[in-house]
């Protein structure tokens, strides 16, 4: 009876019980999950050999049967297409600039995340496994490229690029949070700078770009411009001014009602004649970028509109009651929350755009996929049926890009939403 304390003055909650231990041996797991009913056992017995066979054939093709020399010989073609070989230092310089600003951006964001988590009282531990998993797609790509490279120079330059990215990251981690806004400026300057370094100062015009370089340019250019345009159109659709609302609605419905390929042909064939007389016609590649941007912006606008609708009325009212003018309410209160809510859909649209850039081959641009189709027509490989090798290689590059975007969006979502709601 000694446990019963009558004179306890302060209430103390009882100590928590431990949750039941959930560890099971692998044997138990297999029995409970793969052989728990007769039909499940049947599925397991059929599917395991089938999957095993497919995986075996795939691995055997990649490691034994495939004649990767078509990729080895044409690696430069796949990367830059018909870009003049004497000017290759320009794309390398652009890659170096991009590596630096991306590293910088990642560093600054990492630090900001740690600070935000500290405020919210959450311990943000990043294990090396998580970091490895995050870097895995990029590492896979680098590994594939290294395997196919035959000379030493690209390897040295690649290593230097990686070093620059790491350096940018470490510098980014040292930037205090209140200087963070400069990071956005640095990233935009980096993007513009990488374009300028290739095209300006006796550089190479956009129409001679090709391969992965062109694909990345179309994707980044399209995404970077479609995002702000899409947000503006979404705001236009909700505008109180009927004229702006009408223009936005017509634009969205018109663009969404047309196939991308039709739009690409229009940009190629019709756009030059629709421009006012004396107006310089943009180059072929720029016209494609404009079409991709206009196409994606319509979808981004609808995604953002969904995000705007997910914000409760109370948020507008609270901002109004404080006397915030409408555009500040939008910029400081509504958009930050609305855009966070639509990250998954938005990134889905960007992944879609990244892969849709491969459609430009029908208007004569030699992007990554177009190069992959063409190299099989080279005299030394003609008629040897090496389609699988080249298609597998470019598909792998598309997959790395898409998977990377998907993973980063998931990270962004969880980090931005830490402790909220």
């Amino acid at each position: 009876m000694s446990e019963i304390k009558v004179h306890s003055s302060e209430y103390r909650p009882p100590p928590p019980d431990r949750p039941p231990s959930g560890t099971r041996s692998p044997g138990v797991w297999v029995r409970q999950n793969l052989f728990n009913t007769w039909y499940n056992s049947l599925f397991t017995l059929i599917l395991v050999p089938a999957i095993g066979y497919v995986v075996y054939r795939a691995i055997r093709f990649v490691l034994v049967t495939a004649r990767w020399e078509i990729v080895e010989v044409n690696l430069t073609n796949l990367m830059v297409g018909t870009f003049p070989r004497s000017e290759l230092w320009r794309p390398w310089a652009a890659v170096a600039i991009l590596a630096l600003v991306i590293g910088l951006g990642l560093g600054v964001t990492a630090r900001a995340n740690v600070e935000a988590a500290r405020i919210r009282g959450i311990e943000l531990t990043t294990s090396w496994q998580q970091n490895a998993r995050r870097a895995a797609p990029a590492l896979l790509l680098v590994a594939a490229l290294v395997t196919f490279v035959r000379t030493a120079t690209p390897l040295i330059l690649l290593a230097a690029t990686v070093v620059l990215a790491v350096a940018g990251y470490l510098v980014g981690r040292r930037i205090p949070p209140h200087r963070r806004r400069w990071m956005h400026l640095a990233v935009i300057t980096g993007l513009l700078g990488s374009y300028v370094v290739v095209t300006q100062f006796d550089g190479v015009s956009l129409d001679r770009w090709g391969g992965l370089m062109l694909t990345v340019f179309l994707a980044i250019g399209g995404i970077a411009m479609a995002f702000p345009v899409g947000v503006l159109i979404a705001l236009g659709r909700r505008s109180t001014l009927p004229a702006i609302r009408l223009v936005s609605v017509v634009y969205i419905e018109l663009i969404r009602g047309m196939p991308l390929i039709a739009l690409l042909f229009m940009g190629w064939l019709i756009l030059p004649f629709m421009l006012p007389v004396g107006f310089p016609t943009p180059g072929r590649t720029w016209r494609v970028v404009i079409i991709l941007l206009l196409f994606t912006a319509a979808y981004v606008a609808e995604i953002v509109r969904g995000g705007l609708q997910s914000i409760p009325r109370g948020q507008y009212e609270a901002a109004q009651a404080l006397g915030l003018p409408p555009w500040k309410t939008m910029r400081l209160i509504i958009l930050p929350q609305a855009l966070r809510n639509v990250i998954p859909a938005m990134v889905g649209q960007f992944i879609s755009l990244f892969k849709d850039t491969s459609l430009v081959l029908i208007v004569g641009l030699t992007d990554l996929l177009a190069v992959a189709r063409r190299v099989t027509q080279q005299p030394e490989f003609l008629g040897q049926g090496l389609h699988a090798e080249t298609l597998l290689f470019v598909s792998f590059i598309y997959w790395v890009g898409s998977y990377w975007m998907s993973r980063e969006s998931q990270r962004l979502e969880t980090r931005l939403g830490l402790g909220e709601r």
């Binding site: 919210r120 609270a318 109004q320 009651a321 404080l322 915030l324 930050p336």
Partner: protein
């Protein structure tokens, strides 16, 4: 004293002001509503609302749900547009002129039933946002004032957390501090304790009592009759979009004139 009597007179302004003066304000007039009408579609939410609130007066508005209480105070800072009559706040008449509306909103703070804090900003950022963006107060000054306000509502230690990390009562006190940060002349409360767990109601009411004692002009829509009895200078009873009866707490609770008021009181007390 009785609103119906006031409405039968051709000129209501003098008697309304006298009402406000008798009841406890300084006699200066802060808010004037004259024959305010409001429709939602075919439904008339407010009809012929006449009310004057004096400076430093605390007016509690009560009544059954759907009686137009919230609509009335939402018209005062133009979250709802009134369809007829006049509303004048601190000498500024609410019209379609957006500058007038902004000016009124700067002078009128509001606290909502659902708190409506900005979930993506920290507590201190919630409090300093409006002064910095609307009044252009420098950051350091805004944060110092913000911390003083958070101390006044007794949660300075939460300043760098996010709203979702706080209890309902704490969030509502932040909402009060956020409204006060604009140094308003009037505070509107729209059922500030209705969404709270019972054990958190007192901390919010305490903050409101303290505010009333500091001389703030307040219009409070609430069902907390204890608060009304203790703090209100006048109680306005509304039903079906009309003001049925206006009176001091003593008068209202002990000697209601109208049948509708008696029925309401018999159900809630």
């Amino acid at each position: 004293m009785n609103e119906d009597d006031a409405m039968t007179e051709p000129d209501t302004s003098t008697s309304l002001t006298q009402d406000a003066r008798r009841a406890g304000g300084t006699g200066e007039e802060m808010i004037r509503c004259e024959r305010v009408q409001k429709w939602f579609g075919d439904f008339q939410a407010l009809r012929d609302i006449d009310l004057v609130v004096g400076r430093q007066e605390v007016v509690v508005v009560c009544g059954p749900s759907g009686s137009g209480k919230s609509t009335l105070i939402r018209c005062v800072n133009r979250l709802e547009k009134h369809d007829g009559g006049r509303i004048v706040v601190d000498g500024i008449e609410l019209s379609d002129d957006i500058r007038n509306i902004q000016e009124v909103r700067r002078e009128v703070g509001m606290v909502f039933q659902q708190f409506n804090l900005f979930p993506h900003l920290t507590i201190l950022e919630n409090v300093t946002l409006a002064p910095r963006q609307v009044r252009r107060v420098p950051k350091a000054e805004a944060e110092q004032h913000g911390m003083e306000l958070l101390e006044r509502v007794k949660i300075p230690e939460q300043a760098h957390k996010y709203p979702a990390q706080l209890s309902g009562g704490q969030q509502q006190r932040v909402a009060i501090a956020r409204a006060l940060a604009m140094k308003p002349k009037v505070m509107l409360f729209d059922e500030p304790t209705s969404a709270l767990d019972p054990e958190m109601i007192k901390e919010v009411l305490d903050a409101m009592v303290q505010l009333a004692e500091s001389g703030m002009t307040m219009i409070v829509v609430t069902h907390e009759m204890g608060f009304a009895r203790a703090v209100a200078d006048r109680i306005v009873f509304m039903a079906d979009g009309q003001i049925v009866e206006v009176g001091t707490p003593t008068h209202f609770f002990t000697n209601p004139q109208e049948e509708r008021t008696k029925l309401f009181l018999s159900q809630i007390l």
